[in-house]
Subunit: 229 residues, 2 copies
DNA sequence: GACCGTTGTGTCGCCATCGACACAACGACG
DNA sequence: CGTCGTTGTGTCGATGGCGACACAACGGTC
């Protein structure tokens, strides 16, 4: 069971999705809407009308020329390129969250203050952004939202804004291409996985068996409904 | 122009989306598939067949009983509840990234090592996960991925895994319900926004005009194509 | 002036999806 | 044994989206 998403940008009445972006990108690559549509296996007429709808809401996205020795063609405007960049950033952000592993802890809410809740979990107390009013929750946060520290250099509460902290021992290091996964036993049922660059890993000098401190921000952790019973 | 997404979980041949989850949730609330379908304005027959497709791929999701004084009814199985919890976590994660503001910096890649690139930006050098082979990139990261430090307590390079760091001065603090947005001038065109709990803010004692250090992890920052000309 | 590959329109029909509807089976309860 | 509100099926028609296709307009080039 793997997680996925479909990104879109909503502007006024239209929502531009990955399909639209693929079309624009193909226009940029092929130099004509006709070639772009056929390259994507789509009909020109549909692509044309869709592009018209997009431009009605977003302003000119492509410069079009017709006639001439080569028959004409279409190229992206600056706005069109900006839209591609914007969508790429959104896709990058979403892709990161859909594919990045998360640590999930069962817990119960002890207190709330606005959207911030203090949750008791097997690994300790955690502050999280609560998205439910239930008190039985699951607390989760991303593997790349956790920063590792040596116990000696771990920050005290008053000096940093990352006040969720677990102390634990490293159980394994999985080095991949420039990025490593460090698994830390923090006393919970499942281990905490932290994504770190291999570079950082070497500087920290962390190995299996070492004691480390893992810290992460309350605003980066979420509490959702547990749905038990 | 606001960003959005459509979450789904892919299992084998079916993809369960928000519509399916809404149906399951309605079943849990109303105690029968019939009531759930009508409550959602959907036809029973379609809801029934869709549920059958889901269960064919996922195993039993609802306990169904027919007959009896009350005519019978349906209730979620443990697997069904687990699916709801799983989807809620995914939705929470995606919702966080789609709505959380990001700082975007234009930059050029100086060097690469695997997927990790060193990028020169107006605010300084940054390590990021590169999603493109282009050298003209935009570096972006989430407002809740940045941790603030007092200059005195800011960690040195060897003691933490968060090695991207900007020094700057606070230009404003926007307190909302339990969460505050701190804007920091880091020398780039647009200011850096950091999401912090008001509690952390008070502990740090940060006010406008103060010098602070902002740190964030390379694995939490992305480099995407800039698309200029 | 003919040619060519575009852009710009409109129409037609296919196909998937979904609501609407009809009807059998079920089983506890009065 | 009849009643009732379910579950379990199937069919029909409306709707929307999209490909396929046809055809005019355009404007450099040969």
């Amino acid at each position: 069971m793997d997680a996925g998403y479909e990104a879109h940008l909503r502007v006024g009445s239209v929502t531009v999705d990955g399909r639209d972006v693929a079309l624009l990108r193909a226009v940029a690559d092929h130099g004509s809407l006709n070639a772009a549509a056929t390259a994507l296996g789509r009909s020109y007429s549909r692509a044309h009308s869709r592009l018209g709808d997009l431009e009605e809401a977003l302003g000119p996205l492509v410069d079009r020329e017709r006639g001439g020795a080569d028959g004409g063609g279409s190229r992206l405007t600056d706005e069109g390129r900006a839209l591609l960049a914007r969508f790429d950033r959104l896709a990058a952000a979403l892709d990161g969250t859909a594919t990045t592993e998360r640590l999930v802890l069962d817990g119960t809410v002890l207190s709330r203050e606005g959207r911030v809740a203090v949750v008791e979990t097997p690994a300790g107390r955690v502050r999280a952004l609560a998205l439910t009013d239930d008190d039985r929750v699951q607390v989760s946060f991303r593997a790349d939202a956790v920063t590792l520290h040596r116990p000696s250099g771990a920050p005290e509460g008053d000096e940093t804004s990352a006040r969720n902290r677990f102390e634990g021992t490293v159980t394994g290091v999985d080095r991949a291409e420039a990025v490593a996964g460090v698994t830390v036993d923090v006393g919970a049922g499942s281990p905490l996985v932290v994504r770190v660059t291999t570079d950082s890993l070497d500087r920290l000098g962390v190995e299996a068996g070492d004691a480390v401190v893992a810290s992460f921000k309350a605003t980066a952790t979420r509490a959702t409904r547990a749905y038990d019973t």
